[in-house]
Symmetry: D2
Subunit: 256 residues, 4 copies
Amino acid sequence: MKHVDLNSDVGESFGAYTIGADEEVLKYVTSANIACGFHAGDPLVMERTIDLAVKNSVAIGAHPGYPDLMGFGRREMKASNEEVRAYVKYQLGALSAFATAKGVKVQHVKAHGAMYNMAAVDYNIARAIAEAVSEVDREIILLALAGSEMVKAARDTGLKVAEEVFADRAYNEDGTLVHRSKQGAMIEDENSAIERVIGMVKEGKVKAITGKEIRIRADSICVHGDSPKAVAFVKRIREGLRDAGIKVTPMKEFVK
Amino acid sequence: MKHVDLNSDVGESFGAYTIGADEEVLKYVTSANIACGFHAGDPLVMERTIDLAVKNSVAIGAHPGYPDLMGFGRREMKASNEEVRAYVKYQLGALSAFATAKGVKVQHVKAHGAMYNMAAVDYNIARAIAEAVSEVDREIILLALAGSEMVKAARDTGLKVAEEVFADRAYNEDGTLVHRSKQGAMIEDENSAIERVIGMVKEGKVKAITGKEIRIRADSICVHGDSPKAVAFVKRIREGLRDAGIKVTPMKEFVK
Amino acid sequence: MKHVDLNSDVGESFGAYTIGADEEVLKYVTSANIACGFHAGDPLVMERTIDLAVKNSVAIGAHPGYPDLMGFGRREMKASNEEVRAYVKYQLGALSAFATAKGVKVQHVKAHGAMYNMAAVDYNIARAIAEAVSEVDREIILLALAGSEMVKAARDTGLKVAEEVFADRAYNEDGTLVHRSKQGAMIEDENSAIERVIGMVKEGKVKAITGKEIRIRADSICVHGDSPKAVAFVKRIREGLRDAGIKVTPMKEFVK
Amino acid sequence: MKHVDLNSDVGESFGAYTIGADEEVLKYVTSANIACGFHAGDPLVMERTIDLAVKNSVAIGAHPGYPDLMGFGRREMKASNEEVRAYVKYQLGALSAFATAKGVKVQHVKAHGAMYNMAAVDYNIARAIAEAVSEVDREIILLALAGSEMVKAARDTGLKVAEEVFADRAYNEDGTLVHRSKQGAMIEDENSAIERVIGMVKEGKVKAITGKEIRIRADSICVHGDSPKAVAFVKRIREGLRDAGIKVTPMKEFVK
C-alpha cells in the first residue's frame, strides 16, 4: 500500500500577531512544521502549537529560518555555513524542549523560506542544515525539496530524508519548481492538482510544464493553512488521497 | 571532606561584540552559566563557549534571561509566569542542542539578571523557572540564591538545587544580599572575602552586615570573569579554598 | 462652539503580520497614533500608514513604546528615565522622517501601552517623555490621559498638551480609569458611552463609577480600530458628536 | 588650497556592549558616521555619540545599515528597494532627532557594511538610498565610494555627494577596491598609505594594484577607530595631510 505525509507550516504567530488557521489545518495534516522564533513564532506560540499538534495526533517538526522577523525569513541572507549550522541547532533545540516537556519527540526538520530555497540549490548550505540536525539527533528526518541538494546532503550526512512535493506548483524538466513569476507556475485547478499529487505518490511521476513526464519522489506533500480556502483544499487533498487508496500518515511511519 | 562549586557567567558576547575573559575564567571555575541568546549570547557564541567549557572540563549550565538584549536582561519586565516558563524552556532547549552535539549534558540552570533577582523574592516567578526546568529534564540542578524563594520553588517542584553565595557581597540578617547602593554592600578586601567563603562552605555561617552571625548554605560560589583583575581573584579564591582543604568540583558531584 | 479630536492607534502591523483595520478607522478619526517600530510597526508600515493618514486628512502622531515587540509594548519595563527619553526621541525622529518626506508635520506624541500607563502615574517617566518631545520640537502636542502626571509634566516642560478620555471606560472619583479587572470597568452600552463623551466634551464632567460627578477635560477621545465592530462604533461616536453640535477636528486646531 | 574630510564609523556600541575608541578617534576626524540602531548603536549610544562629536566639533552623519544586529550589518540581505529606502529614512530620522535636540544638523549619510558594498555596484540600491536622503532633506550630502554607482545615484537624485577613498586599501584599474582576500589588497605600510592619500587629494590620482595610474576623487578619507593603533594612524594621516598643505575640514565646508 502506498503512503504519504501531509505537512504544513504552523506556529507562525508572534506576540500579539496572529497568522494562519492552525487549529483548522492541524485537523488534516500529519506533520507540522513549527516556526522556532527566528523568522516567526515565539516561546508561548511554540508551546501552544505543540499542544495543538499533539491533541490532533500530528507529528512535530522544527521549521528553522534566518534571524529576520521583519522579513519573515523570506529574504536571502549571506550567512556563513557555520552560522546556518548554529542557527538550525539553536532553533531545533528550542523546539525540542517544548516537545520533551509534552512527552513527544521531534520527527523532522524543514528549513523555512529563504533558507529552504537557498539550501535546495546550494549543497554547502544544505550540508550545514543536515549536519546541524545530525549532530543533535540522528533519528530526525530532514524534510527536503524532492530531488534537491538537500536530499543529497541529508544522505551524505547519514540522515533520513523525506522528499517533498507541491500540489499547487508546476515543475521544470529538471525537477525544480517553475518560478512563481512565470506563466503557468501555479496549478490553479484543484482537481488537476489532486490528480497530480496522486500520480506523484502512486507512479513517482509528474508532467513537467513542458509536457514531458519526469520522475519525482513524493514522501510528503506541502500544503497551506493560511486561509479558510486553503484549509478546505487540504481537506479535499486528504480525501482524494484516501479515495485513491493512499494512506495518509506521518512520515516517520514509512521513511527509513 | 567539604566541597564547593565555582560558577561564572560566560558566553555573553554577541555577534561582533565581545564581553568577558571567558578563556581565562574557564580555567578556574567548575560550572559555566552560558547565556542563551535572549539577554546576551548568540548561536555561534553558545557553540564556541560550550567547546571552551568542555576543553576545560567545566560543567555546562543554561543562563536564561528576559528578551532584552538592549538592557542585557538587567531590567525588570512584567512578564507573566506562563511567559517566564516558556522563555526558560526555550533557552534551555537551545543550549541543550549544542551540549548534545558536543556529547555533554546540561548540568544546571541559573536565571540571569532581573529574572534571577525577581525570582529570588517572588515565589511564582521562581516556580515558573523551576517548572520549566523540571518539565524539560528532572535531572538538571537549579542554581539559586542561598535561602531564596528559588530554593523553595525548586524543592517543591522536585528539582535538585544548589545554593549559591557571593564572595564579594555583604548579607542582611535574613540572608538576602545588602543592596549595592548601601554602604558596605561590597566586600572590597580580597582576603576577607576569601575567609568569608571558606567560613560559609565549612561552617555554613557568615557574619551579616549587622555583625550577627547567620546560617547560610554554600554549594556554589558565584565569581566574575569580566576583567583580568576579576579573573586573578577567581584564581586566588580557588587556591584559598584548596588550601583550606575544600574540594572545588562541579555541583553535580555532590548536589543530590 | 465646542470641538474635540478623535484619536486611534494605527500602523501596528509588522512585516508579514497585519493588525488593525487602519484603512477603515482612518476614515473617521482626526488624529492617528502611529507605532514607531519598537513595540509594533516597521519602516514600510510607517511609510504606508502616513500615506493613508494624509489621504484621509488625518493628523499624524508618533506612538512610541518600549522595545518589546514580543510583548507588544504592554509589559512594564524598568527602563531608566534617561532610556525612556532616548527611546521617545529615537521613535519620534524615525516617524518624523517619513512625515517630512510626505510633506506633513508630526502633530502629537502619545506614549503606548506600558509606557503610557506608567507615565500616567509616575511623574519622572512622564517628564522624560515630555522632555524628549520638547527637545525635538516644542510645537508638538503631548496627548495625555486627562488629569494625569503626563499633563503636569507636559505643562512643566512648556509643551502643549491634549487631554484624552475614553468612551468605553469607567472612571474613579480621582479621575483615574477603573481597572479592567473590576466590575463595571467597561462601558458596554454604546448609547450611554456616546452620551458620556458628549457630556465630557460639553460640560467637562462625567459620572464616576461611584455615581459622583467629577470634572474631566476632553480634548481628544481615544477610539479603537481593531475590528469592524470597533470601527462601526467610531462612526457612531463621530455622528453622535456632530449631532450634539460638537466639531470633530484635529487637536492642533484648538489646543494652544 | 586643497581640502579633505576625514570620516570614521562611531557609535557602534550597543547596550552593555562597547566597540570602538570613539573618544579618541573623534579628536582627529572631521566627520562621524553614527550607527542608527539597526546593525549597531542604540538610542542612548546615539545620544552620547552626538554629544561627543559636538564637543569635538566633528560633523554628524547617519550610518544606516540592514536590520541585522547579529551580523553587524555585514551580511548581504535581499531587501527590496522599497525596504532599503524605508530603512534609510527611518534611521536617518532617528539620528536627526538627537541632532536636533543638540542643536546641530545632520551633515551626511553613509550606508554601512553590506548595504554600502551592495549599493556601490547596484544602481537600484544606491538610488533607493539617495532617494531616501533626498526625500528627508535635500541639503544632506551622500558619502559614497569614489566612482561608484552611489555617486551616480546621488547626482541623478540631485543630492550633493562626497567621494570617499581608503588609505589602507589597494584599487583595481576600474577604481573598485581590491577584494580583501587578494594578495596586496591591504596597504600595510603606513608611510606609503599616507603618501597615497596625499596623492589622491592633491593630484586626483592613485596607482592601481596593476601599477597603472588611475583617476580618483578624494573628498573624504575613511579611517578607523577600532584600536589604539588605528587611532594613532589617524593622527598620523591628519598630520601628514597638514604637512602637505591640505586643509582637513568637514565635507560640508567644500562639497557643493
